[in-house]
């Protein structure tokens, strides 16, 4: 059901939008006014997943249920706004973990029914890009959106425990294209699995990043997935996975390497393996991302997702973008990891573009395609 006549006239200036995120293990509520961030409140169940070495969907879902109302309450308090003041609500409706999405979507719908405010069901991946439009969120390398306008030729590289994707954004509200993605594990998952192999704990990203600083990345060479000519093809005749990634073979190669040291009765050179693994991941992510940018005439690249915190990924992406004449934008880390502010930020863009709300009858979609910016 639509809520006509509320805020969906184009040009509504500075709508006050509340965004809800629950697609993985972070329960997020963010509030923005136009492109101004008012609050970004996140409750994470990460600690409950540590002993499992990865996100357990049922545990994440249970945590979302208990965290939602307290997180909402805190967000409203921090922003100093009442529910009545809100112009619209936005919620992640996919992609993500089905049971986790369900909690945020049901809560958002209830909020819409209770307050009569219009509800926007939005795409989580596009929200990672939308957050770059918040004032001052373009990162240290220059603001993305001065006056809420995106660069003409914008791409986004999203790297986290849940995704590894490169997108092309022609319009943040209705024209987003997936250029490439992982065909198996997300990069963050590969970090978690390898960290477990090396006994480095969870989450794997920061653990490996830390140990790798003491290792020699050139001591061992691990494979770069999907880089053979049969997958790459040429710019004119692209192969089937020119801009795609695969990390499952890399994980197997690390396991085999560890076993070989153990079989020989030698100490496992944990720091070297961590450094070489990280180099393999970061090398293949950045080389393919930059290739995709060059061949699609992308001149500005936004880096998003939790793995954006990784020092080597930031460094190498920066170097290679610089060499290719691509401007790199990295939002502050609290806006790179999953959060409600990014959902609110995209919701705000949809409203300012005059796009209508989703109503309360939509279904969450764990594999929502990136071409569907809002439902």
């Amino acid at each position: 059901m639509n809520h006509p006549g509320h805020v969906n006239q184009p040009g509504t200036v500075q709508p006050l939008v509340l965004g809800i995120e629950s697609s993985c293990d972070e329960t997020g509520v963010g509030i923005v006014r136009g492109t101004t961030l008012l609050t970004n409140t996140v409750s994470s169940s990460m600690d409950e997943h540590v002993r499992f070495g990865g996100v357990i969907p049922e545990i994440a879902s249970r945590a979302h249920l208990d965290a939602f109302v307290p997180t909402l309450q805190e967000a409203l308090h921090e922003a100093g706004v009442a529910l009545d003041d809100i112009d619209a609500i936005a919620v992640t409706s996919g992609p993500g973990l089905a049971g986790a999405l369900m909690v945020g979507v049901c809560a958002a719908k209830a909020l819409s029914v209770a307050t009569g405010k219009p509800l926007y069901a939005i795409n989580h991946l596009v929200a990672h890009v939308g957050v770059g439009l918040l004032d001052g969120a373009g990162g240290g390398t220059g603001g993305l959106g001065s006056g809420a306008r995106l660069p003409e030729n914008l791409g986004a590289l999203l790297v986290s425990g849940g995704h590894t994707e490169i997108l092309r954004i022609r319009s943040i509200t209705d024209d987003v294209e997936m250029l490439g993605s992982t065909i198996d594990d997300a990069a963050g998952e590969a970090y978690d699995k390898v960290a477990r192999l090396l006994g480095l704990g969870y989450p794997g990203g920061p653990a490996i990043d830390k140990v790798a600083k003491h290792g020699n990345a050139k001591a061992i060479r691990f494979p770069r997935g999907l880089t053979q000519p049969k997958y790459m093809g040429t710019a004119e005749e692209p192969g089937p996975h020119r801009y795609d990634w695969s990390f499952s073979g890399l994980k197997t190669a690390v396991a085999r390497c560890v076993e070989q040291f153990e079989a020989r009765g030698e100490d496992v050179p944990v720091a070297d393996i961590a450094a070489a693994f990280q180099e393999a991941v970061v090398d293949v992510i950045t080389s393919k991302a930059v290739l995709a940018c060059k061949e699609n005439r992308i001149t500005d690249l936004l880096l998003g997702g939790g793995v954006a915190a990784n020092s080597r990924l930031r460094e190498l992406t920066g170097q290679r973008c610089g060499a290719a004449g691509i401007t790199l934008h990295v939002p502050p880390l609290s806006l790179c990891t999953d959060n409600g502010a990014m959902v609110a930020a995209l919701g705000s863009q949809l409203i300012m573009a005059g796009i209508g709300p989703s109503g309360v009858a939509f279904a969450p979609d764990s594999s929502l395609p990136v071409t569907t910016v809002s439902v």
């Binding site: 499992f52 249970r62 109302v69 049901c106 209830a110 909020l111 209770a114 070989q260 009858a361 969450p364």
Partner: protein, 223 residues
Amino acid sequence: MLILAIDTSAVASAALISDDAMEGVVESFATEDTRSHAEVLAPGIEKLLGDAGVSGADLDLIVTGVGPGPFTGLRSGIATARTLAFAWNKPLFGLMSLDAIALEVAESTEAQAEFLVATDARRKEVYWARYTLTEGQLPQLVDGPHVGFASELPDLPVFGAGGGIYADVVNANGEFSTTQPDAASLGQFAMALLTAGEKLPDSTPLYLRESDAQVPGPRKRAL
């Protein structure tokens, strides 16, 4: 007193219960299927309120079924109820979902002095509870809720869809072989308890099962 009751432990359902209305039920809705809660619940509640000409401010309290029931569906009702209660600033209580069927049994001609209520727990198991019934009283929960194989239930008549599915191994009551917990009955149960001056519990879900997650053991070393 006006109560909004919600239960999604099996099907999705909601009801407005008033101590002024005939039989207590002002408006109610329930789905047939057990997998579309997230889509139908909010529109259902919106229509319920609209049809009754009632707003959130008119409610005295909200009651939600806290299960047991399949987790994802169960959470959609509790998440909805908790958020509505917060937004409308109304008290929220939780009732064990099997109580809804127990009340229907008590009010039917099939009533027994002692009986079981069971619903489908998937994976070849049922959620169940044992009740006793004294003339003119609300059904009394004496054991449960539990989750387990139908073949291992106590030897008593079984009411509810959990009996119907396993009619080959339990003494399933035919009249109630497809009955699911329903918000209208749950709300009536809550109204009866409140009228009798009883306190209602909070909305903590009754999962009865841990998540399936296994803590990984130590990695085997290659020797």
